[in-house]
Amino acid sequence: MNIVARNIFRLIVVVLFQVLVIDNIMINGYMVPYIYLLFLILMPFETPRWLQLLAGFVLGLSIDLFENTPGMHTAATVLVAFLRPYLLNLLAPHDGYEPETFPRIHYYGFNWFLKYTLVVVVIHHFALFYLEVFQLRDFLSTLLRVILSSILSVSIIVLSQYFVFRK
């Protein structure tokens, strides 16, 4: 399948999986996983930056529309899309990323992928949960929500590498 078509298909699947399956997993108020970032995380290395930003915008907005939240997911996701190239530069192996590879466990190993996912997810959850609360009063309890939810989201995303995106 064409790489563009594949990514659009992935976007739709990830959004639907988030709102129809993950959102129905209710553990408690401190563990609310958001795995739709998987789409951004798996975008090819050489995607142009403007396209990454727009993709982040579309992804966040579609989640916002399903969750009835105004703009919060959009803001957090666009932020992550903006920071992702810098992060990939920081985490690049010595001889850079090889062509024809994707940011996945299959190509760059468990440790690399865990680091990468962890940073992306923590930035996103941090922005999202504080935007949701929109005040610093509940700083610590929100921080706890960020940490616990991030752990859950990262686990699900990493596991998906073994079950869905194996190749």
Partner: protein
């Protein structure tokens, strides 16, 4: 990063030159930082949506989307409902029993008292039963979607209750679906009263647990006991008076003048499947009157 951007912009502009020179540096600046500018532009849209969220909720786009979401959720919800049939059944049986008791009480009154018939008019409150197709509990802004909308006579600002107690208020409706803003949403505010003493206060949610809400503005001279029932006050045109909301779980006297009260909610939002929307035939009349008086 934005700071560095600004410095380089300033320094490139500060060079002496004619107007086209400025234009060129400006263009070069835009070209160089086009991704940053796109980022700022997209974030600005998102922040604007957050700040003007009430407009967002009413926008045509969101309304259209409500229709689509409702349809998708409706398709998937069957599984969820099937898995909890036993619980629902049990609750319906309980409600049935209560209603039967109620009928007994009222019919015995009818036998002994004479009903004076004034003029005929429809009942003020009418209940429309609906099914929940989507529900969230553990977010800060939780919403419920139900499978009835404008075509079924459901419009914004109508009250929503369940057989256990108060649920929330209709936020917006499309033709076949409506979104409800439940007690467990940080934007929710409602005037309620304490059953035993009739003191009125504001019920809101602090985002912590879907089992508890907070009650504010009860003055310090009110006599409180744990377990007191909280009812709707009937001051607004949304709910009739006396719908059960919850009971006092604990309270502290906050900064002298007002109590900070924790309310255990009667409605279990985690296992909610059917709700009743309240149509108040005199809602418009009351709102019009109140607005005229205020002017």
């Amino acid at each position: 990063m934005p700071f560095g951007m600004w410095i380089s912009f300033r320094s490139s502009c500060a060079r002496p030159g004619d107007q086209s020179d400025y234009m060129r540096t400006l263009l070069r600046f835009i070209q160089k930082y086009s991704n940053h500018l796109l980022f700022l532009f997209l974030e600005a849209i998102a922040i604007l949506l957050i700040v003007r969220s009430s407009y967002y909720q009413q926008s045509r786009f969101v309304n259209m989307n409500r229709q689509i979401n409702g349809f998708i959720y409706n398709q998937v919800d069957g599984a969820r409902e099937y898995l909890s049939l036993k619980k629902v059944n049990q609750r319906l049986a309980e409600e049935n029993m209560q209603l039967r008791n109620r009928v007994e009480q009222i019919s015995s009154q009818l036998d002994t008292t004479q009903v004076i018939r004034r003029y005929r008019e429809p009942v003020q409150f009418y209940y429309v039963p609906s099914r929940i197709v989507h529900n969230s509990v553990y977010k800060q802004y939780n919403y419920i979607t139900i499978d009835q909308g404008k075509k079924d006579g459901i419009f914004r600002d109508m009250g929503v209750i369940s057989d256990q107690g108060l649920v929330g208020i209709v936020l917006e409706s499309s033709n076949h679906f409506s979104t409800i803003i439940p007690i467990i949403n940080r934007d929710f505010r409602l005037n309620v009263k304490i059953k035993s003493s009739n003191f009125a206060g504001i019920l809101f949610w602090d985002g912590a647990s879907p089992l508890f809400a907070r009650l504010a503005e009860i003055p310090f001279h009110a006599d409180l006991t744990e377990g007191d029932t909280i009812l709707t006050s009937g001051y607004s045109a949304i709910f009739p008076e006396g719908i059960e909301v919850g009971m006092i779980d604990s309270f502290t006297l906050k900064s002298g003048n007002f109590y900070d009260i924790r309310v255990k909610l009667f409605t279990d939002f985690q296992s909610l499947f059917h709700v009743n929307v309240i149509r108040n035939y005199r809602q418009q009349e009351q709102i019009n009157l109140e607005e005229n008086t205020r002017q």
